[in-house]
């Protein structure tokens, strides 16, 4: 019980201090809107194409929202030493880090539903397989958050975290099958695609929105879960190695 009080206190503090700030809320709304508008204009195929744009816009919104926020949150607290206060708290280290990343997961998930809610007013979304769509979004948010954590722990300055994140984020957008089908990528790029967590998330969303997924759901969910576990474990190992000297 005591551990969970600490967990919710950290989560609530992070939400208040970092995520529920006007710039972040406006980012969460404007970013998906701009991407939707951009692809809508680019495709020129009318309102009916909006569901086709959803997987890409949702994935990008989650990826940028979670990794950017976590880079700021973790790196800033490490730099001003307030993270030491958390390390001194008598709660399991794993629970502490789940609390620190919980806010980003919620923020990423909320970001994902902004384009969905907007789309719901414009087109019929009754065809979406929600049972795959919602868990898919949550798992994408988790894997992106843990990727952000992994990056944040590897650097010491906020700007380094943002720069380092871009090395992962931009290639991921173009290699994960959101905008170019993986089948049409050159052979030498395909292994990179399957080494990215977002590839499996994008496949779930494509399947849930318009029924076309390249891999079985079980494999997609299993791969995303594995990415979450590996990235979280690697980040924890790195924190213990680098920050508990």
């Amino acid at each position: 019980m005591k551990d969970w009080r600490a967990y919710f206190a950290i989560l609530a503090k992070d939400m208040k201090t970092y995520y529920l700030k006007p710039p972040n809320i406006s980012w969460g709304i404007i970013f998906p809107l701009v991407w939707t508008g951009m692809f809508f204009i680019r495709s020129g195929s009318g309102l009916g194409s909006i569901p086709n744009l959803l997987p890409g816009v949702i994935s990008v919104a989650i990826l940028f929202g979670t990794t950017s926020m976590l880079a700021v949150n973790i790196t800033f607290e490490k730099k001003n030493r307030s993270f030491e206060r958390l390390l001194l708290a008598p709660i399991p280290f794993e629970l502490l880090m789940l609390a620190k990343t919980g806010g980003a997961i919620l923020f990423g998930t909320a970001n994902a539903f902004v384009p969905v809610i907007i789309a719901a007013f414009i087109v019929d979304l009754s065809g979406i397989a929600w049972a795959a769509f919602v868990p898919g979004i949550i798992l994408i948010a988790m894997s992106s958050t843990f990727l952000g954590l992994f990056i944040a722990v590897a650097v010491s300055e906020v700007f380094e975290a943002q720069t380092f994140s871009n090395f992962f984020r931009f290639p991921m957008i173009f290699l994960c099958g959101l905008f170019f089908p993986i089948a049409k990528l050159p052979v030498f790029l395909k292994p990179f695609s399957y080494a990215l967590p977002l590839t499996y998330g994008a496949d779930i969303l494509h399947g849930a929105v318009h029924g076309e997924h390249a891999l079985p759901y079980l494999l997609d969910f299993g791969a995303l879960t594995a990415f979450c576990l590996v990235l979280f474990a690697a980040s924890l190992w790195n924190i213990k190695r680098k920050w508990i000297l």
Binding site: R5, A6, A9, K13, S82, L88, F93, L245
Partner: protein, 324 residues
């Protein structure tokens, strides 16, 4: 009964620097134990090792009977830590910071609010309770950081340089607060570079230099060798080695040494008569500005044991404090 803290042969190395070189000491329950040493002596590293923020390369740390080298988090509920720099959350208010810190130790909501209000009142911060921590003065920040360190009523409190870089009035208030905490039975591990502060507050003191403890004892026992020693310091201009030699010939029962800023230090095993000395110096052509008797202090013990000038150590830290 267990000691509050038992440390055996702790070693810690950072790259080329041996930060701790086999230190051992015990702190009894309810004791105020001072850790005195210059910058870079290993004081903060010791606190980090004791509280689980750093892993020792060798040795053993036992807090209240719990082996913290094997289970670093097992004793964290027993300890409170006040770091050398205030590390609370700038975006949260004073009240918000204390409530958050209480929640980290699992305190229920109503209790944490009550406790936060009580501490804010005790530390004279109640009027600034709703202000953001970032807007606090340095003294207020230190006070709130100490309040955060004791919010969960820890049995053992680690205070790392609590009065560095703050004004005299705030430092005096903080010393009183530390003394009150000690009186209430809290075991306190205090690192400081202020020798007077250590002398006034601590039951026992360890001198640490270059990662090694060079002396550990109670304040009374450390001062024992100085009892019966009389010291006089005479500030004068125009003092030369020739005059110093003449002094030794004229006053054979006294020991003379000339320190910085033309201060003649006179030591003896009996009361020193000021008049003849001043007269002799003035007749020798110097101008005496001041002569004052010096009470034997821990500072002298520190200088003798470590060979480090206490004044230089304090100035160095003050410069650091101003930079922060």
């Amino acid at each position: 009964m267990f000691d509050a803290i038992a440390v055996q042969g702790i070693k810690k190395r950072f790259d080329e620097v041996q930060a701790l070189d086999g230190i051992s000491f015990n702190v009894k329950k309810g004791e105020l134990f001072g850790f005195l040493g210059p910058n870079g002596a290993g004081k903060t590293t010791t606190i980090n090792v004791l509280t689980g923020l750093a892993r020792p390369d060798a040795g053993k740390v036992v807090i209240d009977g719990i082996d913290c080298t094997r289970r670093p988090k097992a004793a964290q509920h027993l300890v409170g830590v006040v770091p050398d720099e205030s590390n609370l959350y700038p975006e949260l208010s004073g009240f918000g910071n204390l409530c958050f810190c209480a929640a980290l130790y699992g305190m229920p909501s109503k209790e944490r609010k009550r406790r936060a209000q009580r501490l804010l009142a005790d530390f004279g911060l109640d009027k600034a309770a709703d202000r953001k921590f970032a807007t606090y003065s340095k003294g207020m920040k230190r006070k709130l950081t100490i309040a955060a360190g004791i919010i969960h009523r820890p049995e053992i409190l680690f205070l790392d340089e609590p009065t560095t870089g703050i004004d005299v009035a705030s430092a005096r208030q903080l010393r009183q607060l530390i003394s009150d905490l000690h009186q209430s039975g809290t075991t306190i591990f205090l690192t400081t570079h202020y020798i007077e502060e250590a002398e006034r507050l601590c039951d026992r003191i360890a001198f640490i230099v270059s990662g090694r403890i060079v002396k550990t004892d109670s304040v009374a026992r450390l001062l024992q060798p100085l009892r019966g020693r009389h010291v006089l310091e005479i500030t004068c201009t125009g003092i030369t080695a020739k005059i110093e030699r003449a002094l030794s010939v004229e006053f054979p029962g006294l020991d003379f040494s000339i320190g910085k800023q033309s201060i003649v230090r006179v030591e003896a095993g009996e009361e020193i008569r000021v008049g003849p000395l001043v007269r002799f110096l003035e007749e020798a052509g110097t101008e005496v500005a001041e002569a004052r008797k010096v009470k034997p202090s821990l500072e002298e013990v520190f200088i003798k044991v470590t060979g480090i000038e206490a004044e230089a150590m304090e100035k160095e830290k003050e410069r650091k404090g101003r930079k922060e």
